[in-house]
Symmetry: C2
Subunit: 222 residues, 2 copies
Amino acid sequence: MRTLYHLWLSPFCRAIRIVLGEKKLEYQMQTENIWDRRQEFLSINPAGEVPVLVESDGSAISGSDVVFEYLEEAYPNISLLPANPLARAETRRLVHWFNLKFNQEVTENLLGEKMMKRFLGLGEPDAAAIRAGYRNLRTHMDYIAYLIERRNWIVGDELSYADIVAASHISALDYIGEMPWEDNELVKTWYARIKSRPSFRPLLGDHIPGAPPPNHYANLDF
Amino acid sequence: MRTLYHLWLSPFCRAIRIVLGEKKLEYQMQTENIWDRRQEFLSINPAGEVPVLVESDGSAISGSDVVFEYLEEAYPNISLLPANPLARAETRRLVHWFNLKFNQEVTENLLGEKMMKRFLGLGEPDAAAIRAGYRNLRTHMDYIAYLIERRNWIVGDELSYADIVAASHISALDYIGEMPWEDNELVKTWYARIKSRPSFRPLLGDHIPGAPPPNHYANLDF
């Protein structure tokens, strides 16, 4: 059986869960507490990070973007990239934008400070970082709205990996109740469309013991 | 004419120069002082980073890995990825390893502290960061040696983008005289092989005003 080593609130792991769902590939999940630096896991991925996908034959693929490109190449029937090389490049540019810039400016400031620090016993959340996170989130939502206004999805007429990556970061923030949905109707409508896809449903069932999501999290009409 | 917006010592730009050379694609170079945050440049790449490749028709592609994947797709005749999806994934895993981990643990601690800080007037180099950079460099050289010992190149029998990325970081460190070649004969032999390729020759001609390279930098027998 295909296995995904993951962490519940990692946007990078969430993106791969959605990709596997869109491609209708079956898998089981295995939570990996990466901070334990388990030897068997490090021998699979020396970087010690999730997601790691292990195929039924034992082949391991590490890192969300690497796993994504692998899945595109190994299971091309349902593709999450446009056909044209320039449009593919634009998709990958936006994927990097969300996985580097959005992650650093928003996800780490909000999810990192409010959730992971408490969870890992790393001390009190940093109020300045949280304020910066809220400020940056508003700018990033405006950018997403700017993209969607001129395109049906983030890169074009079809859902792509860029939508999935953006929605993964947002869904992790939504799980901890930090998405200001009232601020941006366009982004809310786009997210509602992704949220209603069958590939997204497993994420809406997530329920971390001791840290349940707010009521609207799993609600398609939020 | 195809144009590459770049910075001389950026390993990310160096990698794309080598890729363009391997693929025998002509281009001109344009230095972009990204810290000036020039409006025209930001309109091409909102992230404000180099490399950016602009094709003759004006199409712009931003970010080294995105540019690389684009060049693979648009100009597939000479490929720098293996054919098998798992081997391609292994190549991309190592590319991320060097562009994220090596970059953070070595390149930024040595090139960033010793060269860029001085150049940008950001104050004195941090001695602790430099010591960490030297320590990490030794570990990373051991890892490269471990990979090359069992494979002809970093990922297999053929030169791949993983070799190019690793060599780009190392060549930037070599330019500032920070490569302890005497420490690792295997890594030196591998680098000598890359250095002697025609695609690498333009880099050996680099000469930044006010910051010339050491004599051995351009020497194939170093």
